[in-house]
Amino acid sequence: MQRIGVFVCWCGSNIAATVDVKAVSEALGHEPGVVFSTNYQYMCSEAGQNIIKDAIKEHHLTGVVICSCSPRMHEATFRKTVAAAGLNSYMLEVANIREQCSWIHKDKAEATEKAIILGRAAIAKVQLNAPLTAGESPVTKRALVIGGGIAGIQTALDIADAGFEVDIVEKQPTIGGKMTQIDKTFPTLDCAACILTPKMVDCAQNDKINIYAYSEVQEVKGFVGNFHVKIKKKARYVDTTKCTGCGECTEKCPMKKIPNEFNLGLDNRRAIYIPFAQAVPKVATIDPDHCNMLKNGKCGLCAKVCSAGAIDYKQQDQIVEREYGAIVVATGYNPIKLDDYDEYAYSLSKDVVSSLEFERLTNAAGPTGGTLLRPSDGKHPHTLVFVQCVGSRCSAEGKGKSYCSKICCMYTAKHAMLCREKYPDTEVYVFYIDVRSPGKNYDEFYRRAVEEYGVHYIKGQVGKVVPRSDGKLMVQASDLLSNEQLHIEADMVVLAAAIEPDKSARPLATMLTASMDTNDFFTEAHAKLRPVESPTAGIYLSGACQGPKDIPDTVAQAGAAASKVIGLLAKDKLTCNPCVAHSDEMMCNGCSSCEKVCPYGAISYVDKEFRMPNRTTAIRRVAQVNEAVCQGCGACTVACPSGAMDLKGFSNSQIMAEVDAICKM
């Protein structure tokens, strides 16, 4: 029989307001095995933890039940507490009477009754707890960063700076991501390329960093400290060790009419191309969908002009297998497609553009060389209308995104300001619902757009854009403050499209078994306290894959993710989860049912000699669990026909005891 102590937490008024904590500790004090029961305002505080420690010593407790918030919140805290008092840290159970009781119920009597039952279930379970000792597993001292935008770049640089090896996998032919497409950055208006390209070069030159560009993660196996990853290096049809990036081939390729992704289709590229001058790695790539040689075996011009002999039409995709200790997701975002918002005439007029397209139209490396010209006729626009929140902040059941995309208010202010600065003859209107500018120097930036640059900010929305044959765009909008419907003859309309996670994120999350929210943003382990970690150990989050973020936030988070990775890689050994499967050799009949369902291959079989009656022995085949590999899912425990396989910490008898305690009302 255990000597159990029960500790009921008030959590200030979070629990105490709806649960009669005194009644709970009183009632649980009478449960069999309970020798001590108390309640306190904040069990997780130092004073609270001391109450637990003192009670363990004073009452010689062998088991502890804490009725408090979710074990997902403070189980780890309390495990340390009991260990500090000399008890095995797995002699603890937490009854969740906050998230799953006080916060969801209003009736005090009902909530109190439920809290008592949950406490009883925990007591019943702890009766059957046994001390567990965690094993250790080694750490592979190399990190993988998936995505080579500013988030991935910053994370990789910071990890490499601490002396660890790091690989970047980027699906595009070059690293750099969205930031390479941006012209200026708010709120300081420095040039994006000027601050980004040196970092790209740093990545390329850092001997700790290895870049797999034009590559994708294909398979992830293993667990924290020991991930095994297959990376597919897509065929570029160019030998990257020979290519000098001279660009001769891209000049001579006869396939000229391929929409250039880097400029969002606003101009064309060739079938062999280098995305932009500062690309890293700066090597050419052949687009197999458009190359005549690859499609029909005719042409071969690029091979002829390449003095380095780098062209290789026979190149194949290559699979690289690598081991990693930690994985950082930095898959970033994309603007949404605007097909469902054609009231703004995006599909009808070339002069209705998305903000990212506008970014290219004002970028010195863009299709117009940085001169703002209308895509339809190449003329200088005089009246520009910016529309905010296109597809953001929509109701969940509708077609848009329910969240605020966060970056649009600021980049629109930037666009509007730059328009007025470079072309003082323009009239610039910004239609907004709310201007959201919380951030250092952000609101000041937006106010400058209004006060110094004379941008017309109008509270209201655009309802319809009608393109005319003379190239004018008739914008119909509401001005809520003057209660008017406006009709503006514009030359260009710029839509601040909502942003969404990159499409590659969802399949990647499945591979990583990392959870996502309903919008396909990665979920953090704790919304406030563990913002750069995924709930899956060893997986970290950097940048907009976790939620909409601007560049300063992304870089800050990228650094935070790197520091978490460094913290992990700095360890030589990791403590394993001791709640792993265990086979009772006396009961096991070696049927292999458990082996078949194990997703980790943690179960193997050994022939073992057993003593039999009459001083004989027999050799039997029995299952053995590799505790370092077992992740403790429990699939094998149910598959086992003889009941030999059980899960430590969640044993059959423990769960049954909980069931019994709950049903015995």
Binding site: D339, D340, Y341, D342, E343, A345, S347, L348, K464, V465, V466, P467, R468, S469
Partner: protein, 262 residues
């Protein structure tokens, strides 16, 4: 292929062309349209009041009649299509309304929105197929630049109508291509002509129809096509200004292309 067919009051009267050419073309395309017996006027507009019951029952009766025939129901007039489709949606998804309506009607089997309502354009797209329409064309309307005018009733509310993307539709444009003409893309194709408000306030109908007409003309269309008698009326009678394009029912052009226009 046999379908139940709901013509609606206007097609029996001022918009006989819309109906006549549709029937002739359907026959040519191998589709039989069986006019429902004893149909009643749909009321022209779907009352948006959730507690309006009686004004929606005529539509429900028509829907139930098609269900009893075991046929999908084809509509042609945009207004009828809109009303029947919305009534059907309410019968299927608004339990309170559906219960009230069923209580009132005392049918043998309660009606819960089982009938599939399709517009004649959807019949062409999804049943016949625009490819087959194209094959059946004997008199392609080459060189014609036609602006498809959807108005509001065919597309909205998009959640219920589900004919096409309500902001970027293509069904009529594809139809125009199928009969050999060139579709003109223009923004006001899904803006209102002024509708029934012509009864209350002619000015607004004039203003709205003119805006529609001007935009179509500006984008170099030579003809406007519509599926709605009221749109046709407003655009021909109430649109003012220098640009006055001919407005015809889409079925008339279809019949012309198929060589069944008498």
């Amino acid at each position: 292929m046999i379908f139940s067919y709901y013509p609606g009051c206007t097609l029996k009267n001022k918009a006989q062309d819309l109906d006549r050419y549709a029937r002739a073309s359907a026959e040519k395309l191998g589709v039989t349209l069986q006019e429902l017996e004893n149909w009643q006027c749909c009321g022209g507009a779907f009352s948006m009041g959730k507690d309006e019951i009686a004004s929606k029952l005529a539509s429900v009766r028509a829907l139930n009649a098609a269900k009893e025939q075991g046929q999908d129901l084809v509509t042609l007039c945009s207004a009828c299509h809109n009303v029947l489709k919305q009534a059907n949606d309410a019968m299927a998804n608004d339990a309170e309304f559906s219960d009230h309506a069923n209580n009132y009607m005392q049918l043998d089997q309660p009606y819960r929105g089982e009938t599939k309502v399709i517009h004649y354009l959807e019949l062409l797209r999804d049943v016949v197929g625009f490819e087959n329409v194209k094959k059946a064309v004997v008199n392609p309307l080459k060189g014609r630049k036609i602006a498809a005018y959807y108005g509001c009733l065919l597309l909205r509310p998009g959640k219920v109508m589900q004919m096409d993307n309500p902001e970027n539709p293509r069904i009529m444009e594809d139809f125009i291509r199928a009969i050999g003409a060139e579709p003109v893309l223009w923004a006001n194709r899904n803006e209102c002509c002024g509708g029934y408000a012509v009864m209350e306030d002619k000015k607004i109908a004039q203003k709205k129809s003119t805006a529609v007409m001007e935009n179509a003309a500006d984008m170099q269309a030579d003809t406007l096509v519509t599926a709605c008698p009221l749109c046709l009326y407003n655009l021909t009678k109430n649109a003012s200004g220098e640009h006055r394009l001919p407005v015809v029912y889409f079925t008339e052009l279809l019949a012309e292309a198929l060589g069944v226009k008498d």
